[in-house]
């Protein structure tokens, strides 16, 4: 989900910061974000640039930290699946 969120945000012309764990930084290099930040690196989190929005695909403590950094937070992790699910086509 996070990777497709990065993709969509880039398609919309946004500047995209990928928030990942320290050990994921190398594998994240290829997903097309403008910048990568380790959300488990306190100094990196303390020095975040100004953000217009946070798209949180994780929840929990990281989300709480990010909520304090920005006015608009979109949280759509596993607790809230999209409600417009396809209906059965069996008749």
């Amino acid at each position: 989900m996070g990777r497709s969120a990065v993709f969509t945000a880039k398609q919309r012309g946004a500047v995209v910061i990928a928030g990942v764990l320290k050990r994921q930084i190398d594998e994240t290099a290829a997903i097309g974000a403008d910048r990568i930040i380790a959300t488990d690196d306190q100094s990196a989190m303390d020095n975040l640039p100004p953000l217009d929005a946070v798209a949180d695909a994780v929840g929990g403590k990281t989300a709480e930290t990010l909520i304090s950094k920005v006015s608009l937070v979109a949280c759509l992790h596993r607790c809230s699946e999209p409600l417009r699910m396809p209906r059965s086509t069996h008749r």
Binding site: V20, L76, P82, P86, H90
Partner: protein, 167 residues
């Protein structure tokens, strides 16, 4: 066809591999021979009866929303797809040998993408798309931080709570 049929809400034991009526492609729909489906949280929540208010199962019924496979027949009015083509979509009743999908929701499996791996994509990429386009409504030039940007693999690892939610 064979399918994973659900006769009542409950744990994994209510999933029964058995005969089920073949679906038929109506207007604007495509019949697919399923190569693969994938398991999403919505599937086990639905099977357990936790989504009855907004996404019930009509028994005996099927679950599964991600599907990839080969086009078998085109319903009336369908254009842009051909029989034998590999496709994938977010659909309904995907835990089955055959599935009917709205052509409007269908995408071609491009060269270089394995049809089985394609079945892992629809719901999760749609969700990521909605998170940005509707959740943040981010515009050109604005800055957005995507947490969990490396993908679901670590969502699982970073949330022990998730395993308790599965049953």
């Amino acid at each position: 066809m064979k399918a994973i049929v659900v006769h009542q809400y409950g744990g994994p034991e209510v999933l029964k591999f058995e005969e089920y009526r073949d679906p038929v492609a109506g207007p604007g729909e495509v019949l697919i021979r399923v190569a693969a489906s994938s398991v999403n949280p919505i599937d086990y929540k639905r099977r357990a009866g936790k989504t009855q208010d907004f996404y019930p199962i009509k028994f005996p019924g099927l679950i599964g929303v991600d599907v990839a496979g080969t086009v078998l027949t085109l319903g009336p009015g369908v254009e842009g797809f051909r029989v034998g083509e590999q496709v994938f979509a977010m659909a309904a009743d995907a835990y089955a040998e055959l599935a009917v999908v709205k052509a409007a929701n269908l995408a071609t499996v491009r060269k270089g993408l394995d049809v089985v791996e394609a079945a892992a994509l629809p719901l999760v990429t749609t969700t990521g798309n909605i998170l940005i386009s509707e959740g943040t409504a981010i515009k050109t030039g604005q800055t957005v931080l995507v947490s969990g940007a490396a993908g679901a693999w670590d969502v699982r690892q970073s949330s022990p709570r998730n395993s308790a939610e599965r049953s």
